[in-house]
Point group: C2
Chain length 418, copies 2
């Protein structure tokens, strides 16, 4: 009797696999290399150091509206029917400082963004005033601080505006400009090596003979790495053989910060990949087989400080598992603080009953349609070897291991593809 299959042994639960692997990667990682870049190129990059403001923003107390700078206290209780009258004591020109100092009973004209005269503590909007000669009629009360940004109220000199490890968003780029940091120190983009394996896999530019299939995973992963602000290196397709794979892996490990291996989903080939990784160095394969669908044969490994992730060969499985394991590791390599970022979902009702194989967290592709103001998520049927199921889908829903399935009409959270 020849016993094949079942070589994976016990599958690790998804949460456990992520916790254990990310912890191991974190411990092994060296500090990321840094570089200075102009802020126009810094979107999505991760700060290599805290950013402190060198000066106050704004550097003067300014008005947020068009109107009259006043002492808020002098307008208390006034209204359309019961206005207060102040004496116009001047106008502040835009873009310049003013030496005016407000006296009791006075108002000074300021435009949006203009500097307030000294001592003034609020601005009445022009819409709530009338001007009669040099007398300003105030028809609405303002409290001290109203319609004003105090010197340093936006950003204070010496304040830490952004922390090391923060991934820069559009507003952060604007804020960096605001404090005059037009160059910024960020961590270098991690270099991600991509290797496809499989004797049936051929280059996407070639025409497949019967029995062959084009390499989709290399290109899907290239796109994912670009989206994650990484640099990629393509190592092409390697045959399912120990020495060929080992040679390619040595090269990729030398040149990259992370190696993504895809394919090799058949039992024998999985073993080749695991054997090669264990041969390359300690600690080697940490987890082999995760209780998720699609994606069971995933390999999570480390050789020295370099993470290696063996993704399943089926294109749907490869992309789903990349998101679960690859993307968080890329974020760790950039030194990002938040490894599992907040993620938007869309609430929808599931379009039909979904049964689930017990003891595996399952990810289901869905399309979305709106009906009577509600979103409905309709499962896309098809094997995880079919990329077209991902092309048709708008997002994924997860059925956690505890649940046995979903009932039609049940509310679910759809993770949208972007």
């Amino acid at each position: 009797m020849s016993k094949e299959g079942l070589k994976l042994g016990k599958l690790t639960a998804l949460d456990e696999a992520q916790a254990k692997y990310f912890e191991a990667v974190k411990e092994a990682l060296k500090d990321p290399v840094c570089e200075e870049i102009p802020i126009e190129e810094a979107l999505g990059r991760v700060l290599a150091a805290d950013v402190k403001a060198g000066e106050d923003v704004p550097n003067f107390t300014r008005s947020t509206v068009d109107g009259y700078a006043v002492f808020g206290e002098e307008t208390f209780g006034c209204s359309e029917e019961n206005p207060v009258y102040l004496k116009l004591a001047g106008r502040v020109p835009m873009g310049e400082g003013t030496s005016l100092s407000l006296e009791k009973g006075q108002a000074v004209r300021v435009a949006t963004g203009g500097m307030l005269p000294f001592k003034a503590n609020a601005v009445v909007m022009i819409e709530h005033t009338e001007l009669y000669g040099d007398t300003v009629e105030i028809k609405r009360a303002v409290a001290p601080g109203d319609n004003v940004i105090r010197k340093g109220q936006d950003v204070e000199a010496g304040e830490t505006l952004l922390k090391r490890g923060h991934r820069l968003r559009t507003q952060d780029i604007g804020a960096l400009a605001g404090i005059g940091r037009v160059w910024v120190s960020v961590t270098r983009k991690p270099v991600v090596g991509i290797i496809s394996t499989g004797d049936e896999v051929i280059d996407a530019a070639k025409k497949p003979a019967i029995g062959q299939i084009r390499d989709m995973n290399s290109y899907g992963l290239v796109a994912e790495v670009i989206k994650a602000n990484g640099d990629y290196r393509l190592y092409g397709i390697v045959e399912d053989e120990f020495n060929s794979l080992k040679k390619k892996m040595i090269k990729a490990l030398a040149e990259c910060d992370l190696v993504l291996l895809s394919g090799g989903s058949s039992v024998d080939v999985r073993d080749v990949a695991a054997d090669v990784i264990n041969d390359l160095g300690e600690p080697g394969v940490l987890i082999h087989g995760v209780a998720i669908k699609p994606g069971k044969p995933t390999i999570l490994a480390l050789v020295g400080e370099k993470p290696i992730i063996g993704l399943p060969g089926h294109p749907v499985s490869a992309l789903v598992n990349y998101e679960l394991f690859g993307l968080p590791v890329i974020r760790m390599l950039t030194g990002e603080n938040v490894i599992q970022p907040l993620r938007g979902t869309l609430r929808a009702r599931i379009g039909r009953n979904v049964a689930r194989v017990a003891n595996r967290a399952e990810f289901i592709r869905v399309t979305l349609r709106e009906e009577a103001g509600e979103w409905w998520a309709v499962p896309v049927l098809g094997e995880s070897g079919m990329i077209s199921t991902m092309v048709k889908a708008d997002g994924l829903i997860a059925i956690p291991m505890e649940k046995t399935g979903l009932e039609a009409g049940e509310l679910v959270e759809v993770k949208l593809f972007d």
Copy 2:
């Protein structure tokens, strides 16, 4: 009596402003220019033409598991206790075609991704079999079609895989590789001109004197344009004067597909921008003033087929209004089918009562924190002239015009920043 302010007249409701402006832009737009690019660079780009598959994927019927190809019908009713025995008729080598044809009573060994012998219609997973010499014991039934991807089942020859106007996601790049389309025809990136105005605004690299403020909006908008897959051109800072602005606008309109003007939020300056736009050509300013907070003074205009958007000067207002008006226009310029894409949100409870000024749709910055398994959205206080409020925030919530406010504990949808 001198009457200042209130020059905007009646504000247009947000929905109405978007509908009217987007319709006008759509009618004026020319077909986008196209270019051929390699798929490695195509993430986020928009297809210029339908993509049809030239051939079947896969081009042979393949197994999705390791196991034995069988006639599903011959396994009906079999189980661990009541197995079926089939004769091993051969093995299919990986990556090659096979000329084997299955006969009744036979099973053929196939690996994941391997070709099925002719006539076989299902595969039994190796885990549910035992091999005794050349006899295969089948311990679980499979239905015809189980564990198989038929020739052309993923993508059929002649099928339209992706439609013109589709924005390419990672899985679409994988699918293009799968059908051998390693170059693809996409629409050219729209060129977006960015102009800042304001006499108090200075270049971000310079040190502001009292009364001056650095240009944040140009850099924030650069980042937004990059994120939207556009190309940007910076035109620097223009003083609030008719002829200077007109000269700069003529240049920007000649070189760009869309012009974003920011600043000029004070009443007089808004008029300068509107006057210049109306002077440049028909139809000119279509909407001037939208009932939103932050963002009231927004200008939505067209000169010939070129859209021009005048964003408020306050940095928070500029970014919020860019998202509402600028981003959809960039998507239209790329020829994207879906102008308002599905967007993920996070459900949270609002952390405190929020009152709202009547008759304006209001966008509130919030930070998120988790408490006892629930998300709480806490409003970030501060003027829309303070970029730090956007830096601290994790997302935005909208209070529509019909509502007067939010009660502490009420459920809201947070649009996350990414």
